[in-house]
């Protein structure tokens, strides 16, 4: 299927190359996915989108509260943004499948972020249940984005089960601790045949840049933006960091060396006299 959506290109060694993020059947020019949780006011949502250029936003499925109409996130997310509902609250594959089917019925597309959490201290995702839900939902035509621990073996199984991407965590949700699982993320990025979206734990824009420099295809950021004193400016910082990291990855850094290599010529110093 040909991907639809916005196009982005980059000049690489003088040649213009397409550099879209392809998820399911959609192309995205932005590699920054954003979450809508924990904002002090929903009025930030459109501002975050504008400042960050994010084209995909996560939402959760919950019982409607007629007394709090402002909780209805679809009234705040501008048209044209791709909605990524999550299955938060699910503790089993079966519950995740139920939430996913409900989410699709909303009519906002086929994307689903599988989130099955059974560890309530560190909010760690349950790989076994996530894999089972992914297999079922991929067969039903969902574009499945599973949130997982950074386990390269699980990633391969999810790929085989039809996941549209994998979303390994960098550190526990909302911890803002950065790329604590760096080595595992590198292994996943190296081996994965589907896009790798680093999700959870990113705390600062530099963490996002680092993940992108490593070769992650995208990052998903929520708390780092919503908990900032100025969420709008922070979302802009993340947009720039993600782009900087992506360019840094594509440009391919030179090799590290154990010793100094002078940047300026070591000849032609003023006042030097040539030996007889």
């Amino acid at each position: 299927m040909k991907a639809i959506g916005s196009k982005s290109s980059v000049l690489l060694v003088g040649v213009e190359v397409q550099d879209d993020l392809i998820l399911g059947s959609k192309a995205f020019s932005s590699r920054l996915l954003t979450g809508t949780g924990k904002f002090s006011s929903p009025r930030f949502i459109p501002q975050i989108l504008e400042a960050s250029g994010s084209q995909m936003m996560t939402v959760a499925v919950r019982r409607v509260n007629p007394d709090k109409p402002e909780e209805d996130m679809l009234t705040h997310i501008p048209a044209g943004v791709t909605i990524l509902p999550n299955t938060s609250g699910a503790r089993t594959a079966q519950e995740a499948v139920r939430i996913a089917r409900i989410a699709r019925e909303m009519g906002c597309g086929d994307f689903i972020k599988i989130e099955v959490i059974t560890d309530m201290k560190y909010l760690l995702p349950d790989g076994e249940e996530t894999l089972a839900a992914t297999a079922i939902l991929a067969k039903e035509g969902f574009a499945v984005l599973p949130y997982i621990q950074p386990d390269p073996v699980l990633c391969r199984k999810l790929e085989e089960a039809g996941a549209a991407a994998v979303m390994p965590l960098a550190a526990p949700i909302g911890s803002l601790r950065g790329l604590r699982c760096r080595d595992m993320l590198e292994m996943i990025i190296e081996a994965s045949r589907v896009p790798v979206i680093v999700d959870a734990g990113i705390g600062k824009s530099s963490h996002a840049a680092e993940a992108m420099e490593m070769g992650a295809d995208a990052v998903l950021v929520n708390t780092a933006i919503s908990a900032a004193q100025d969420p709008v400016l922070m979302s802009r910082a993340f947009a720039l960091a993600v782009q900087a990291g992506r360019f840094g990855y594509l440009a391919k850094a030179g090799a590290e060396r154990p010793v100094a290599v002078a940047s300026s010529p070591l000849t032609g110093f003023l006042g030097a006299t040539r030996a007889a």
Binding site: G35, T36, G37, K38, F39, P42, T58, V59, A60, V61, R62, R63, V64, P66, E71, D72, M73, L74, T75, I83, P85, N86, S88, R101, I102, A103, E105, M106, G107, C108, I173, G174, A200, L220, N222, T223
Partner: protein, 66 residues
């Protein structure tokens, strides 16, 4: 009068359709999904689906989440 379990809470009301209930609750039809006794009721079926004694209803929407 019939008794329902609406989003986990008991509610007594006059018999009517799913659509009647949503209209009464002032819920935007394009931004909610309805599950009746564990099965999704698709939007075109809201008007013809009449609520009965003991029905369990879940009415959900998208809220903020990561």
């Amino acid at each position: 009068m019939i008794n329902l379990l609406l989003n986990g809470e008991k509610e007594s009301r006059l018999a009517g359709s799913v659509l009647d209930l949503l209209t009464e609750k002032r819920l935007a039809p394009e931004r909610v999904v309805v599950e009746l006794n564990g099965s999704i009721v698709k939007r075109p079926q809201w008007q013809e689906t009449i609520l009965r004694e003991g029905d369990r209803l879940e009415i959900v929407c998208f809220v903020g989440g990561g």
